[in-house]
Every structure is written in structure tokens, then in C-alpha cells.
Subunit: 67 residues, 2 copies
């Protein structure tokens, strides 16, 4: 699954120093970041529920991303 | 640094099961994903250079993201 705009992902790769980027490379990084983001978000939702909250707070994301 | 559209990041958190999401949580996940994406992209650029290429290929991203 791809969750972000291709142009944003391409920009990030260019900012990292790339002269040219294949379309497949952009799609692949988009997938990797979407998967990673979903993993963090799912854990953050669990953490918030565990704390009896329905709102995901910054601290939930922080905790989830350092898991 | 924040590299993605807030609406996309929020959508991802909602798809993970969140009922409500704070603005700070969205910003934090955006930062985490931007940093992770930049780390992968920089390593992919190094890998491509090492192979004598100027074009970042899917396999460079794949290798960099499993580092």
C-alpha cells in the first residue's frame, strides 16, 4: 500500500543527494514508509486504548516509534 | 523536518483505528517518517554511487531499507 504523494517521496530522495530517481524506487520507498507509519500508528492506538483514551496524543506516537 | 502532507499522515493514523488524533501526534509521526525516509534515501544514494550509477533504483531503496 502506498500512502503518500509520489512528488513528496521523490523530493525527499532528491534532498538526500540523488540526481536521478526511477519511478519504482519512489514507489518502493513510499511502501516502506507507509508500512512503517502504519506499524507505529497501530501501536500508538493500542497505547492510547490501554491508557483509557480515544485521542491519539504526541506521546503515544513517541512511545510507539521508540518501541 | 516535516516532509509529507498532514492529511495523509492523519489518514494513516485513522486507518490504524484512531477515533481522534491530536495535531501534535500528526506532526510527530510526520517527523519520524521524514527522518526515516531521509536515512534510507541517503544510504540508497551511497549504494548507487558505490555501484557507479547516478540513478536511484528500486533495489537501492530495498537494500537501504533492510540495512
Amino acid at each position: 500500500m502506498v500512502g503518500f504523494a509520489s512528488a513528496r517521496v521523490e523530493k525527499l530522495i532528491r534532498e538526500a543527494g540523488a540526481k536521478r530517481v526511477s519511478a519504482d524506487a519512489i514507489t518502493r520507498l513510499n511502501e516502506v514508509l507507509t508500512d512503517y507509519g502504519m506499524t507505529i500508528a497501530k501501536y500508538a492506538v493500542e497505547v492510547a486504548r490501554h491508557s483509557g483514551r480515544k485521542t491519539i496524543k504526541e506521546s503515544d506516537i513517541k512511545l510507539a516509534s521508540t518501541k
